[in-house]
C-alpha cells in the first residue's frame, strides 16, 4: 500500500474516482470516525500532531471533492499527472451499493424520475409574460391553460405524470367541456394542482376558471 502522505484524495477517502457526492460524504464520515479526536483508535496510533495532520488532509480531500468546481480542477491535475485515466471519470452506471431508499419510486438508480424532469423543464423556462397575461383576465378558459402549457412545451401526458390527474379530466379542463368536468370540489383541486405546477396563483386560476364555466353555462 502507498504511504499515507502520498495518497490522492480519492485513495485517502477510499472512494472510486467517479464517486457520487453522497458516497464522498459517507466516506468522509467513515474516515472521521477513525481519525477524529474522540475515536478509540486514533489516540492509540497517533500523536496529536500526527492526527491533526491526517485530519487536515481528510478535511482538504473532502472539501475539494464535494465541490464540483474544485473537484473538476483536481481531476484535471490528476489526469495531467497521469495518476488517473480520464475514462474513469465518465459516469458509469452507479453501483447499487449502499441502502436503497425504502419508498423510492425510482426504478433506475441514477436517472431522475420523469416527474422531476418535467418540473425541471418548467422551472427552467421563462413564461412570466404569458402567465401574467392569463392571470390578468377575469375569465380564465381551458384554452388559456392549454396555450400556456404549449408555450412552455409540456405535453398533456406529462402533466398527468406529475399531477396524476387523468387524461380524460385534463382534456375536459383544457377544452372547457362542461359536461365532462368533475364535480366542483374535485375540479378545484385539479385546477390548483395544474396552476401550481406552472407557478400560477392557484386561487386566481380557480376563480377565473369557475367564473368562465358559469359564464359558458349561462350563455348556453
Amino acid at each position: 500500500m502507498e504511504r499515507f502522505e502520498n495518497l490522492n484524495y480519492y485513495e485517502l477517502l477510499e472512494v472510486p474516482v467517479n464517486a457520487l457526492p453522497f458516497e464522498i460524504r459517507q466516506a468522509y464520515r467513515n474516515a472521521l470516525s477513525i481519525y477524529e479526536e474522540e475515536s478509540m483508535i486514533s489516540d492509540s496510533f497517533f500523536t496529536d500532531d500526527e492526527r491533526n495532520a491526517i485530519l487536515r488532509r481528510i478535511e482538504e480531500a473532502f472539501s475539494t471533492l464535494i465541490d464540483k468546481g474544485q473537484r473538476g480542477g483536481y481531476n484535471k491535475e490528476l489526469i495531467d499527472a497521469g495518476v488517473i485515466d480520464a475514462s474513469l471519470l465518465e459516469k458509469g452506471k452507479p453501483k447499487s451499493k449502499g441502502p436503497i431508499p425504502l419508498f423510492s419510486l425510482k426504478k433506475t438508480g441514477g436517472q431522475e424520475s420523469l416527474s422531476a424532469r418535467v418540473r425541471n423543464r418548467i422551472e427552467r423556462k421563462d413564461f412570466m409574460e404569458v402567465s401574467r397575461e392569463i392571470l390578468s383576465k377575469s375569465l380564465i378558459s381551458g384554452k388559456d391553460l392549454e396555450r400556456l402549457r404549449k408555450h412552455v412545451g409540456i405535453a398533456v401526458e406529462e402533466i398527468f405524470e406529475v399531477t396524476r390527474i387523468s387524461l380524460k379530466v385534463l382534456t375536459a379542463i383544457e377544452s372547457d367541456d362542461v359536461a365532462s368536468l368533475p364535480r366542483t370540489f374535485y375540479l378545484k383541486n385539479f385546477l390548483k394542482a395544474y396552476a401550481e405546477l406552472f407557478n400560477l396563483d392557484s386561487r386566481k386560476v380557480i376563480d377565473g376558471y369557475l367564473e368562465n364555466i358559469a359564464y359558458l353555462k349561462n350563455t348556453k
Binding site: M1, F4, S33, I34, M40, I41, D43, S44, F45, T47
Partner: protein
Amino acid sequence: MTIMAQIYAVGGGKGGSGKSFLTANFGALFARQGHNTVLVDLDLGGSNLHSLLGFRQVKKGLNSYLNKSVSDLSTVAVPTEIPNLHLISSVDCSLEIGNLFYAQKMKIINAIHRLPFDIVLIDLGAGSTYNVLDFFLSAHEGIFVFTPEPTSIQNTVQFIKAIYLRRVKQILKHYAFSNVVKELAGESEADLVRSPLDIVDRVMTKDPDRGKLLEKELRKLVFKLVLNQYRKHIDEELGNKIEKVCNRHFYAGFQFLGNITYDERVHNSVLAKTIFANKYPYTPTSTDLKQTAEMMLKKSGETSSAIGKYGEV
C-alpha cells in the same frame, strides 16, 4: 517423517484481554475438527493455561525440557480431557523464568518448531518484553487479541509497534545494515524512536535500495486481529477500522478475523475449569469462536515461513 506444524502465537500486549481463554478455546475447536493440537503456555512467570483446561497441577512441563531431564519437548506434552488436544505447561518452571536467557529462548523456539503436531498454539503473556516479542515472531502467524477499550487498544498498538520494531531490527541485522541500526540507535537517544516507521523512512531516505529490501521483507508479515469481549453497543466495524489503520500506516498485512461476543458465562467456565466452547456450545460466543477459528485455518495455507527470523531453523 517430519511433520511441519502450523504455529500460531496469541499475544496482545494487555493483560486480561483473553489471550489464554482464546488459546484454550481455539485449541479445543481445532482438536474437535481432528487436528492434532498442542497448546504451549509461554506466559512465563504467569502460567495458567493448565487451569483453563481442568488441570490442578501439571507434573512435567517446559522446565523438564529446559533442565534436560527430557531431551524432546514433545514428551512433556500432556494429553487433556479433550481428544487430540495436548498441553505443554510452564507452571513447573522456576519463579524467575520470566527473565529467560537468550540461549534458553532459542532452545524453546527451536524445539517448538520440531513438535510433531498439526497445530501449535502459543499462549503469550502481557507486555512487550523481548521474550514475548521473539516468541511471537517465531510463529507462522501472529494473532493480536484486544478488547474494545481504549486501554486495550493502546496496549495492543504498542505491542504491534514493538513487534514491528523488533522485526525491522531483525531484518536490518540480517542484511548487515548494522551501521544503519547503530546510527539510528544513536539518534534515537536524543529523538526517541516512537514509531518504527520512522526507522523505515530514515533507511529509505538514506539508502533507497536497502529501504526497498526492508519494505519487501516487512510486507511479508501477516498479522491477525481478534476483538474479544465484543459488546452490542460497540461499533461493529471497530475491528475492520483498526485493520485498515494498521494496513495504512504500517508496511505489513493485517487481517481482522472477527469479534468474539462478550458472555457472562465465560466467568463460569473459568471457575469450572472447563472449555467454554464445550460447556456452552450453542451460544453466540461459541459461534464466534468457531467462525474465528475457521478463519484462522483458512488463511494459513499460504504462509509457510515464520514471521520472524527464528523460523529459519
